[in-house]
Amino acid sequence: MSRRAMFKFRLFVAGDAPNSAQAIANLAAFCRAHLPDRYEIEVVDVFREPKRALAEGIFMTPTLVVLTPPPVRRIVGTLSHTQTVLQALGLLDIAA
């Protein structure tokens, strides 16, 4: 996978629920640390846009959808385990 690849994220959160707020913070910190300047984050609040959650089949919050690079992946939770996230994004060997 190219080191230069652009990462597009969509994070579904449930209003200001504690674990949602935590996920936003964790994602931001993660991107700054591991993907500087090559990330885009869209935050979707399911309370405000329930139809989008429905359309995408989001039923657990917070859920992070990795849109690019393919394949599309989903990571559920507060993203507090950095190792898991790195592995999911295929960045583990680079970080190691």
Binding site: P50, L54, T61, I75
Partner: protein
Amino acid sequence: MKSTRSPIVKSAAKAPTGIAGFDEITGGGLPHGRTTLLVGGPGSGKTVLALQFLVHGAQECKEPGIFVAFEESSKRIVANAESFGWKLAALQKKNLYFMDAQPLPDLIQSGDFDLGGMLAALEAQTRTMKARRIVFDALDVVLALLPDPATKRREIYRLHEWLLAHDLTGIITAKAGGDEASSIIEQPFGFMQFMVDCAVILNHSVALGVSHRNLRVQKYRGSAFDENESPFLIGNSGLEVAVARTPGRVDAKVSNERVSSGVERLDTMLGGGYYRGASVLITGFSGTAKTTLSGAFAEAACRRGERTMFVSFDSDCTEVIRNLASVGIRLDPYVKNGCLRMISARSIAGSAETYLVRIKTLAQEHGARCLVIDPVSAWYKSGNDLTAQGVADRLIDWSKGGGITLVCTSLLDEMSNRAESGSPLQISALADTWIHLNYLVQAGERNRGLSIVKSRGTAHSNQVRELILSDTGVTLTDTYTAGGEVLMGTLRWEKERAERVAHEAAEAAAKLKRVRLDAEEAELEVRLKSLQTELVAKQVEKALLVRSTQSHEGELSRGRTQMQELRGADAAIPGKKVSPS
């Protein structure tokens, strides 16, 4: 014992499920606006029950519903439910919504999460379609993803609160089973059973290879309910819960009409035949002509033009027809003209409950007025021993309700010590007429004996009759009973013959004596006649004698007078007349 026979009052605050029997148990359905927990093992019918609840709501109650599928994809659920004929495709357009919420197999988890997203999505959907009912199918699947019991509990609470806040009638299904994996899940569900307003437990067990499904309402806040386990099965149109008697149902109409048993003398013994709509039990050992007797009934019913169904658990239909033809019972023409329907269920491979439902369905299809089940004791075998009793009870209950005349045979095990009283299914108590067939072994012979153990509302013969099968039909013969002896078969024949011979001999002797007496009489008469003739002759002789004597004397006196006159010596004696000459 059925504990709840009194009708459970139906309440407006209930959401009917449309499941036959279930609404009776719960007095109208699930608690409206509350949550019901549906617990059961794999394949126990949770999804079907829940889906049927939604379908009924959408079709009949104007209550649109949402199905949240955590385990199976909605596509598969719809496909599976297609066989029930629920027309899901049409419902899905407006009144039924499936939400796929299966956790993806490659779902990556990092840290804590909750179900807020789902509830938000559901909230929007609920508002759009004005949903009143909701099902969370296999909630345990998503709960298993949650890291600790506290989190699980938190999410269950969240869900429950949400349901209550939106006044939705909800069903949450969850797996429960004996295996280790599910016992981890059981813990949060344990407390859930306290939280919800209604809990239903589905049970699917296998006894000796036969599957049995049971359903039990564990709790129901604010309502009376049937607390017992009720057998149910998944039939052609969904779940069907077996209830012995639908509460509030009007008692079956009682008929005084008699229907022939097919054996003339048996009808006489019963005072005219079976009652229409009665249930008749024929018990007996193997080969005591139970099938023949029930076949005779079927033939008689068909001859009257009544639609009849014959269910055989013992042999193939064609075999039954052939065997019965050998004793002059011809079912073939009635099968051909459609009056008689033969059903063969030779090897029992399902629960008794399944068979009952099948028989009910088929009988209804056929419009049967008379029903023969040969033998009903087949239900008793292979793992059905616990349920068969209830099934037989319901069979009788159902046939009575429909005014169907039911003839059941029941095989008694010759080897067992159960006497006449021990019909293995204790349905003898429920049956209206109980005919017992028995072998009497005497003088190296087995002969069939028939007796009527009971027949409600009928004067019936108390005697044991001999049942004789011949190629012209079934007949009953009086047994030879005298001096406390009961003889059948050859012994009866011999005894009867001996009596006949003795009788003939006596008759001949009497005849002989009569002839002799006649002869003597005739002889005497002849003698009497000759004597009479002699007598007459003697009398004539005697008369002649008298006359001749008189005339002689007259002659003498006349002669004397003439002489005196002639002599003229004596004066004529005055007054003395001269005798005429």
